[in-house]
């Protein structure tokens, strides 16, 4: 991670020196991850593309103000997140304003782990169908929870970096992460408990 940070700093110095090609290196490096993050937040393809362009344009124009206190990736994801949240607040305010949609029920907060899910091999969980189910399980979450699980478990940011990107406390990050992970877990448990048969398992092992 540190060498990545050093490499980004070197490229940023070149960009600030007037080398636009160097900026394209940063775009090349981060466009897939930013696209994924925006896609999971906003869903609508055209809006995602507009926000992707806006994010990199904002980054280019704001690069002089980048202090290096955080990593470039944290700074860039913060810009993308703010752009997406601004869009959502304007177009779908109800999707962002309520952060308590996932209060855990008092009586049965944890679905037991089904043996089917625990026994399902990664080849099935990460097959085309399995990946589609993972995406669906994440998409069922409210946006703030969706962002949290994607930034932590998909992008690998630390909790502190997440707090910075999402402009909230580490405690809020932990709480959302806990709920989001358990909701995805329950969704996957329910899916595999319903569908997996021994024949599926054998097929999955051949994939």
């Amino acid at each position: 991670m540190n060498s990545e940070r050093t490499e980004d700093s070197r490229i940023i110095t070149e960009v600030l020196g007037g080398n636009f090609d160097a900026f394209e290196q940063l775009v090349e490096k981060y466009q897939g991850r930013i696209f994924r993050h925006l896609r999971k937040m906003v869903w609508d393809n055209q809006q995602v593309e507009d926000l992707l362009q806006e994010t990199f344009l904002n980054a280019y124009k704001g690069l002089k103000g980048f202090s290096g206190a955080s990593s470039f990736s944290t700074w860039l994801f913060r810009i993308a997140t703010n752009n997406a949240l601004m869009f959502l607040r304007k177009k779908r305010p109800q999707s962002v304003e309520y952060d308590d949609e996932m209060r855990t029920g008092e009586e049965t907060p944890y679905a037991p782990a089904s043996p089917e899910y625990l026994a399902t091999p990664q080849s099935i969980l990460l097959s085309r169908e399995g990946r589609r189910k993972i995406e669906e399980a994440i998409d069922e979450l409210p946006v703030l929870y969706r962002m949290t699980i994607v930034l932590r478990d998909v992008e690998g940011f630390s909790l502190k970096e997440l707090a910075e990107i999402m402009d909230c406390s580490v405690g809020a990050v932990k709480s959302r992460l806990h709920r989001a992970r358990n909701a995805v877990r329950e969704s996957l448990i329910s899916y595999y408990a319903d569908r997996l048969t021994p024949a599926d398992e054998k097929m999955g092992q051949r994939v």
Binding site: G32, R33, Q53, L57, A113, L126, K174
Partner: protein, 78 residues
């Protein structure tokens, strides 16, 4: 099958290395003794691992090309 709420509430933090040493020890001891909680833990761990691998960062070529053209057009002007 009952799980122990207090321990399960800490499992996400535990996976992130966010629990204190004494809490870690208690959780680890509990997981050894309590099969339902141990299964919850394994299913949570499995979920975190497959989420990390299961969401593609593929970006369509057309989107990539339009981004490049957009930035070339807008970044040279200031």
């Amino acid at each position: 099958m009952n799980v122990c709420q207090h321990f399960c509430d800490q499992l996400s933090d535990y996976l992130d290395g966010e629990t204190r040493d004494d809490e870690c020890r208690l959780i680890e001891e509990h997981l050894k003794e309590c099969p339902p909680c141990e299964e919850i833990f394994r299913s949570l761990q499995k979920t975190v691992v497959i989420c990390g691998k299961g969401v593609s960062d593929e970006i369509p070529d057309s989107v990539r090309q339009r981004l490049r053209a957009f930035l070339r057009e807008h970044c040279g002007k200031d």
